[in-house]
């Protein structure tokens, strides 16, 4: 009951904001700020008016959206995997963690766009550079959060593993890894939103011929402002949907964690 009411309110707030936006842009009449109705019409015409066989996606959508999602998925998967593996390894050895902590905090603090020239020097323009750039940008929140999670295993859980003589592998897989999961997921969620940002950024660079970022720059270059706004709105929608999917997965994987916490509170 409260759930449906919240949903109704949410939709109402959204609808009101869009209407205000619509009215304001009509009143302003500026070519730089097309009304949302124009943007949505443009999005539909440009991307979602294709044949049924391609799930209504147009050729432009296949050329813009899919490459971006592919880059983001590969970059996220690679960075997340590296972050989890390195984070666990780091979290298991408090000495290595202490030695490397400063270095890691330093690396994490560098804004990824500042390093883009370094990546261009090493990898040149193109997909390899984009993937390396996304992976490098998102690995830190995953790595540091996983290491933190692996370090904060309940001492009594470790003693229990010791008493019942679990092997190193069992302890890692069945005790340390699950203990680290809540923090690991916090890191992964940060990494997901960051990967959308750096994906678009990497597509703004020269050497790109497709993707949403490329669509944005070419729309801007041809002064096609509704198309540029369509790209911006699409990125917002994508970020929102990806986060929702992530939350569904997290709720499933960490069901025990959320339930146990509710009982404590």
């Amino acid at each position: 009951m409260r759930g449906t009411r919240t949903t109704v309110f949410r939709i109402t707030v959204l609808a009101v904001l869009v209407l205000v936006w619509e009215a304001a842009t009509w009143l302003a009449g500026s070519a730089f700020f097309p009304p949302p109705s124009t943007i949505v019409t443009r999005m539909h015409a440009m991307w979602f008016s294709g044949p049924f066989a391609t799930l209504f996606l147009t050729d432009a959508a296949i050329g813009d959206i899919l490459p971006s999602l592919g880059r983001m998925a590969l970059g996220f998967a690679g960075g997340a995997l590296a972050g989890v593996v390195l984070g666990l390894a780091l979290g298991l050895s408090s000495r290595v963690y202490d030695y490397l902590d400063g270095v890691l905090q330093f690396l994490r603090a560098i804004p990824p766009p500042a390093l883009v020239t370094v990546f261009l020097v090493v990898f040149g323009f193109g997909l390899r550079m984009q993937l390396a750039f996304i992976m490098f940008s998102i690995v830190w929140p995953v790595l540091l959060n996983t290491a933190d999670g692996a370090r904060s295993v309940e001492p009594l859980h470790l003693q229990t593993s010791q008493v019942f003589r679990l092997s190193r592998g069992e302890r890692l897989r069945r005790v340390v890894l699950p203990s680290a999961l809540p923090k690991m997921f916090a890191g992964l969620r940060l990494a997901l939103s960051l990967s959308l940002i750096v994906m678009v950024f990497s597509e703004l660079l020269p050497g790109t011929t497709n993707g949403i970022g490329f669509q944005l720059t070419s729309a801007y270059a041809t002064f096609d402002l509704p198309a540029m706004w369509a790209g911006i709105v699409l990125l917002g929608v994508l970020g929102y949907l990806l986060n929702e999917v992530f939350l569904v997965v997290e709720r499933r994987v960490l069901a025990w964690h959320h339930a146990a916490q509710q009982v404590v509170i």
Binding site: V163, L166, V175, L181
Partner: protein, 256 residues
């Protein structure tokens, strides 16, 4: 079965705030015995238990189980900790919690599941196998921890204030559960408690420790007509007499 020779343990030895938890403690436990160790709070009971379990290395003396000096946790030993909520794994079902230690026992998956089921049945939790620890009350969670220890089939079971975090009624039920399962399983039990009544009610023998640094100040055999019963045993003159004696030993050394 279990021999403790001149055991000492100092935390932070060599520093000005060194804490002598145990000093010159001697104790021997016969196979099949249910020994209760009681002492004032903070007297080093847990240090003693952790030394027996091989979780810490004592700074002096030695612990032998079946003649073997304990250097790391022996594989015929199980521990039931006081804090069940942090000893059970919250991400595993009750059955998986009980079955986990059996991976080292060379049992296949079905045998492990069956052993877990049997252990859960013997603690009265047959229906809870698929639940998660957080879905159970404190007393039931401690039953799961006991089932986990039983399924492991240890020859020595250590219990560290196992009923310290449950309400009085549950506590009595769990005391009776310990008495009941030790009848079915051939094992030696060492139960640490700060509850004087509990030590006399559950134990075959009660050992009283001094305040830190702990050593043995009393060693009493409990001869009470069995089977023990929460009402009639506790009003038996021998029970009343023994608990007074244990109380005097605990208090005498707690207030010095």
């Amino acid at each position: 079965m279990l021999e403790i020779d001149n055991l000492s343990h100092v935390y932070g030895g060599g520093t000005p705030n060194a804490h002598h938890a145990i000093e010159g403690l001697n104790l021997s436990v016969a196979a099949g015995e249910l020994l209760c160790i009681v002492g004032p709070s903070g007297c080093g009971k847990s240090t003693l238990l952790r030394s027996i379990a091989g979780l810490i290395r004592p700074t002096g003396g030695q612990v032998r189980i079946e003649g073997q000096v304990v250097r790391q946790t022996p594989d015929n030993l199980a521990v039931v900790f006081q804090d069940y909520s942090r000893s059970l794994f919250p991400w595993m079902s009750v059955e998986d919690n009980v079955a986990l230690p059996l991976r080292r026992r060379n049992l296949d998956k079905r045998q492990r599941q069956e052993a877990a089921k049997e252990a859960l049945e013997s603690v009265g939790l047959a229906g809870a196998a698929r639940k998660y620890p957080f879905q159970l009350s404190g007393g039931m969670q401690q039953r799961v921890a006991i089932a986990r220890a039983l399924a492991y089939r240890p020859t020595l079971m250590l219990m560290d204030e196992p009923f310290g975090s449950v309400d009085a009624q549950t506590r009595e039920d769990l005391e009776d559960l310990v008495l009941q399962v030790r009848g079915h399983h051939q094992m030696t039990i060492v139960l640490i408690t700060h509850d004087i009544d509990e030590s006399v009610y559950v134990g075959d023998r009660v050992v009283v420790l001094s305040k830190a640094p702990a050593h043995v100040v009393g060693d009493l055999k409990v001869h009470l007509p069995g089977p023990r019963d929460q009402i009639s045993t506790r009003e038996h003159p021998d029970f009343v007499h023994l608990r007074a004696e244990v109380g005097r030993l605990v208090r005498g050394h707690a207030t010095v």
